[in-house]
Amino acid sequence: MAANFNEHSDISAADLTRLSQEAKAEATPSSARIIWDEFKADKPAMVALVIVVGFILFVMIASLFIDTSKVMQTNIMNYFSAPGADGLLLGADSAGRSIAQQLIVGSRNSIGIALGLTVISSTFGICWGLISGYFNGYIDWGMQRVYDFMMMLPMTMMIIVLVTIIKNYNAVTLTLIFSIFYWEGTSRLIRSRTLAESEKDYVAASKTSGTSNFKIIFREIMPNISSLIIVDTTLSFAENIGVETGLSYLGFGLPIQTPSLGTMISNANDPNNITQYWWTWLPAALEIIILCLSISYIGQVIRRAADASQRQGAED
């Protein structure tokens, strides 16, 4: 192609490279690039990113070296060992189980469930919102009624009832149960944006030229609201960490024998533990706070990157 170009144009090769460089410099940067610039411009955001990515990696790798079946084994010799004593970095709980090991395995479980929940509920919510917003009329009306009904359900109670009904549940079933109730926020947001987007000319043009609805929804509208989707997914990830840990705290999340950040915090339900043996629950509580704040902050930064008027990085 280059040879062909040289033959038929009178622009010199030097000019061509100069022009294409200029074009490259002036072109709108890719969204990944914009987000990265935003992180570079905002120091706390960088810290949050390092914390979240580093911590998730650490937990995933470290839990490979921990014998999961041994973590929850009772070891009466270490009954309420203080942090640092008996070679236990963060001490031990009433059954002499190492808090540090529980924290690592528990974080892996909690983060894993939150990730799974985010993927399932966001995917469902996005599809629901897109379809409901794109097809006006009866489809939207019907879907809205289902949405209203789901909003009416007392979520926490329903989850607890379902968890008690299903006998041998594990992390996967638990994630699915949570997913039934946590798609509404996303769907509502996506629906309102899709409603606005469907009014636009490019959708009308596509319809006139006979593009299938499926294609318009997923190949044209969805990419156009992708920044909203990314922001919403990040923020719901932070929220979902609270969902699983909260239910596990009440005793209706992961089974007692499976460590989770929530079950660790429920150590605080015992008046003795909460003051005297603070190390049994406080690290897990602090970890949740730091994780949620960091992930939401990352979400805020991405939101800023998606909105050109609020960007702090890369002046253009």
């Binding site: 009416m152 109670m157 009832v161 909460i274």
Partner: protein, 319 residues
């Protein structure tokens, strides 16, 4: 106006019916029965069977559902198997506790959020705005139950300022002392709930104030020479008051959901704690009644908010 309200109520009816069927079936599907183990462990299985039979637990589900609905309309929600007491009376006592806690939380939330929202909007982009933004961000992100646990740890146990369980100090006499003791017991959970529940109101009010600052009526008021303080208090604030009031209805959902956690952490005998306890006792009648009550309250909250909003903004009425 009335048409909108009527239509909203008509839509509610099938929702409540579906909810009641769903709740009833879920409670039936729960494992175990209320009698095994709760009586004498040596009890004769035949006797348990007999008890199940006279309580109608062997009838087909639609028969049981129908009986339940008929009783429901007579104001009879059945007897709690665990507490051996009519469910209506049991829940009635707990509901007032939950109600007081929710009411105080809501009052404190508004008392905190209204000035903050106006203040942040007034000083848009300046230091107070930034501080309030960081505060709402932090309170929004942290899961509520973690805050409750840390709150009860610091203020209840370490500092010892507040009671950590119950709704009243036992042995309290005299109505003034009773009220005082009750108030003292709900103060910490209510303050925590309020501190961490302001985000929606603050953000909404802030953007309303920022919009209003640039509107014509504010400019006119300024031109007339109305003092800045009065503009914010009488012109801008009053205009955003009704939509803010509409938040009260929506926040019922949040308060009810939160009540399960708040009451568990503070061992506060309200409906949320009753629910958690009933689950472990498999007390179906109480569970179904509570889920139904929470669902209907959610619905009424949304209805209330929608009505307020449709009064404020006529565009919503035309769907």
């Amino acid at each position: 106006m009335w048409k909108t309200i009527l239509r909203r109520i008509l839509i509610m009816i099938p929702e409540v019916i579906i909810l009641s069927i769903l709740v009833f079936l879920l409670a039936k599907a729960m494992p175990g029965d209320p009698f095994t183990g709760s009586i004498n462990p040596k009890a004769d299985p035949a006797q348990i069977k007999h008890l199940m039979k006279i309580n109608g637990l062997y009838d087909p589900w639609y028969q049981q559902y129908w009986n339940w609905v008929v009783h429901l309309f007579h104001g009879n929600l059945g007897n709690s198997y665990q507490y051996q007491e009519p469910v209506t009376r049991l829940i009635g006592g707990r509901a007032t506790n939950t109600l007081w806690l929710a009411l105080l939380t809501m009052i404190l939330t508004y008392a905190l959020a209204l000035p903050m929202g106006v203040f942040a909007g007034r000083h848009e982009g300046k230091l107070p705005d930034t501080v309030i933004r960081v505060y709402t961000y932090v309170t929004y992100c942290i899961p509520f139950f973690v805050i409750l646990v840390i709150g009860i740890w610091i203020f209840g146990y370490v500092l010892g300022w507040f009671p950590t369980t119950g709704s009243i100090t036992s042995g309290t006499t005299g109505w003034l002392r009773t009220i005082g003791s009750r108030f003292y017991h709900i103060l910490l959970p209510a303050v925590l709930g309020a501190l961490f529940g302001t985000v929606n109101i603050v953000q909404y009010l802030r953007s309303e104030v920022i919009d209003a600052k640039r509107s014509d009526y504010v400019r006119t008021a300024r031109a007339k020479g109305v003092p800045s303080k009065d503009i914010y208090r009488h012109h801008i604030f009053r205009n955003s008051l009704l939509p803010i009031a509409a938040f009260a209805g929506y926040s019922i959902t949040g308060l009810l959901n939160g009540s399960i956690f708040t009451e568990t952490v503070f061992s506060y005998p309200g409906m949320g704690l009753l629910f958690v306890n009933s689950i472990s006792y498999r007390d179906y009648t109480v569970i179904t009644a509570l889920v139904l009550i929470y669902g209907i309250l959610n619905l009424l909250g949304t209805l209330l908010s929608d009505i307020i909003l449709s009064v404020v903004d006529p565009r919503i009425r035309i769907e």
